[in-house]
Amino acid sequence: MMLRLLFIAALCLPTLVQAGSGPWERIDPARELLGESKPEVGVLALDLPAVTQDGSSVTLKVSLDRRRHSDTVIEALYLFTTGNPAPELAEFQFGPAAGPLDLETRIRLDRSQQVFALARTADDRWLAGVRDVRVTVSGCLVEGTGSLDDDFMLARVRGPSRFRADRPSEIRAMIRHPMETGFREDPQGQAIPRRIVKQLDVSLEGEQVLHARFHPAIAAHPYLRFHVAAGLEGDLELEWRESGGEKAESQISIP
C-alpha cells in the first residue's frame, strides 16, 4: 500500500515541480511582459478543442472562475501561441465598464501547439493559463478563402438575448475582413500583402469597456464575445480599425 502511494506521488512529482512554469518562460514577448514576476497558474481557464481539423478557425475561450475569484479584477489580457510564425494572438485592456473576464474569439493555429494566456490583475498580480491543441490536416472541407468582397468591414453586434440587471451583459461582435496574414501567395506566386483588423474599441456611454489589439493569427472575420459589467445600461459603441486605414462603427443599446 505504502509503495503504491509512493508510486502515485512520484507520478505527480513532475507537475508539482513545474508549478508556475510554462511556455511563457520560452516566448520572448511574454517574458518581457512578465519581467521578474511569476504568474499564478490554473486560475485562468482556457477552453479550446483538444483536437481540431480546421486550424484556420479555432474557438478560444478565456475565463475566470467567477465564484472563486469574484473580486479579482483583470486589467489586461494577453494571448499567445507557441507554434505560429508569430507568438502574439491578441491583447486586451479592460476599462471600468467591463464585466468579469469571460471572453471568446477565433484564432488560427499553424500546427499542433500550446496556446496560453497571461492576465494582469488590478493589484498587479499575473495569472496564467495554458492548453495544448492538436491540429490535424483539414478534413473534407476546402477552406473558404476570404476576399475583399462587398461586405468588407461590415460590422455587426448583438446584445444579451435577455437583459438582467444583476448579470453581466453578453455582447457578441463580428466584422467581415479576410485578415490577410502576409504569409500567403496568390495563384501567380506573388506574396499577398498583409492586411488585418488591428484594433477594436468598445465603450458604454463614453466609459471604456475594452480596447483590443489583434494580430494576424486572429481568424478571418474577427469575432469577439465579451461582457459588460452587471447593471450598466446605455449605448454601447464599437469602433474597428484595420491596417488599410478603413474604419467601421456599430452600436446597440443595452438593454
Partner: protein, 348 residues
C-alpha cells in the same frame, strides 16, 4: 437554446428517427443492390430510390423557399478532385458489398445486437480518420491537389441552369421534379409497394429526415456569429468522430454528425426492442471477420475520398443536385457492381 445545443439535440432527434425507420424497413442500399442483382427482387432498392426522390424534392423546395442555401454545403464547393471523388466512390461501393452494409446500416445492425457491425464500424471510423488527418492524409492531400478541378459557379445542376439564365425557382424545380418524379415512378413500379403502404411512408420519411438535416443546420440553428457548416446525414467521418469523442470527450463538443450517429444507434435499438428483433450475433468463420474489416477500411478511406457515403453522397449529396454527388454515386454503384461482375468479383 444556443445554436450549438440546437444542432446537437436536433441531430440526435433526426438520428433517432432515421434509426427507427431504417430498422423497421431494413433500409439498405447494399442489401437492395444484392437482392436486385442476385435474386431479381427490387423492393429494397425501390425503397432507396423513393427515399432519394423525396430527399431531392424536399431539399430543393427548402432551397426555393430560401430557407437553406445548398451552395454552402460541402457537396457544392467550388473545387474538388475529379479523380478522388469517383475513385473513393468505387472503393466505398466495393467495401460496402464486402461488409454487407454501409456505415448507416452497420449502425442499425449494431443497434439490433449484431456485433459483426461493431468491427465494421471501428474499422470504418479509424480508416476514415486515417485518411482525413492521419497517416494517409498527406497522400490524399497531395493527390487531391494534383487533380483539383475548379468551377466559377458552384458545380451543381440547379446552379448551372440558373447561370444560363433560368430563374432560380425553375432551375431548382425542373431538375428536382424530373429526377424526383422519375425515381418515384420507377420505385413504385419496381418495388411492388401496394402491399405495404406503411413501408412506403416510412422510406419516404427517411427522405424527409435528410431535408430535416439541411433545415436544422441551415436555418433553425443558423447563427450569424457562429457560422456552423451546412450539413445533413452522413456516416463516414461522423463515425470516426464518434469514436474520437468517446476517447476525447473532455476536449471536444458533440457536433451534428456525432449526435446523428448516437441517435441512429439509439433509434435502431429502440425499434428492435419494440419489434422483438434484438439478438446478439457474432462471427461464425474467420473469413467473415476479414471481410468485415476489409470492407470497413475500404468504406472509411473511400468515403473520405468521395466526400461521403451511400447516405452522405447518395442521399444528402444528391439531394443538392451537386456534380460531385453524381460522380460519387456513380462510383459507388460501379464499385458495388465490381463485386458481382468482372475480375475482382467476390465469391458468395
Amino acid at each position: 437554446m444556443s445554436a450549438q445545443a440546437m444542432v446537437m439535440w436536433g441531430g440526435l432527434a433526426l438520428g433517432v428517427v432515421f434509426g427507427v425507420l431504417a430498422q423497421a424497413t431494413a433500409f439498405c442500399l447494399t442489401g437492395g443492390l444484392r437482392e436486385w442483382w442476385s435474386k431479381g427482387q427490387m423492393r429494397r432498392i425501390g425503397g432507396f430510390a423513393l427515399a432519394l426522390a423525396v430527399a431531392i424534392l424536399a431539399t430543393q423546395i427548402l432551397a426555393v423557399a430560401g430557407l437553406v442555401e445548398p451552395a454552402r454545403s460541402l457537396y457544392l464547393q467550388a473545387s474538388f478532385s475529379w479523380l478522388l471523388v469517383p475513385l473513393g466512390g468505387v472503393l466505398f461501393g466495393y467495401g460496402m458489398m464486402l461488409a454487407r452494409g454501409c456505415g448507416a446500416r452497420a449502425l442499425v445492425l449494431l443497434g439490433e445486437g449484431n456485433l459483426r457491425s461493431l468491427v465494421v464500424l471501428l474499422c470504418l471510423g479509424i480508416a476514415a480518420h486515417a485518411a482525413m488527418g492521419g497517416v494517409l492524409a498527406p497522400v490524399r492531400v497531395a493527390v487531391a491537389e494534383a487533380t483539383t478541378i475548379s468551377f466559377g459557379t458552384p458545380p451543381g445542376l440547379a446552379e448551372w441552369l440558373s447561370s444560363v439564365g433560368l430563374a432560380e425557382t425553375l432551375a431548382r424545380l425542373i431538375p428536382a421534379l424530373l429526377l424526383g418524379g422519375l425515381l418515384i415512378l420507377i420505385a413504385l413500379r419496381i418495388a411492388d409497394f401496394h402491399r405495404a403502404r406503411a413501408e412506403l411512408i416510412a422510406v419516404a420519411a427517411i427522405g424527409l429526415v435528410i431535408a430535416g438535416g439541411w433545415f436544422l443546420t441551415g436555418h433553425l440553428a443558423a447563427d450569424d456569429f457562429d457560422p456552423a457548416p451546412l450539413q445533413s446525414l452522413s456516416f463516414v467521418a461522423p463515425v470516426g468522430d464518434a469514436i474520437q469523442y468517446l476517447m476525447l470527450a473532455t476536449g471536444m463538443r458533440v457536433d451534428f454528425g456525432v449526435a446523428v450517429v448516437a441517435g441512429v444507434l439509439a433509434g435502431a435499438f429502440l425499434a428492435a426492442l419494440l419489434r422483438g428483433r434484438l439478438e446478439l450475433r457474432g462471427f461464425e468463420k474467420p473469413g467473415q471477420l476479414v471481410r468485415a474489416m476489409l470492407g470497413g477500411v475500404l468504406m472509411g478511406v473511400g468515403g473520405v475520398l468521395a466526400l461521403g457515403c451511400s447516405i452522405g453522397q447518395g442521399l444528402s449529396g444528391l439531394s443538392t443536385l451537386a456534380l460531385s454527388s453524381f460522380l460519387a454515386a456513380a462510383g459507388i454503384l460501379l464499385g458495388a457492381r465490381l463485386t458481382v461482375h468482372g475480375p475482382i468479383k467476390l465469391a458468395d
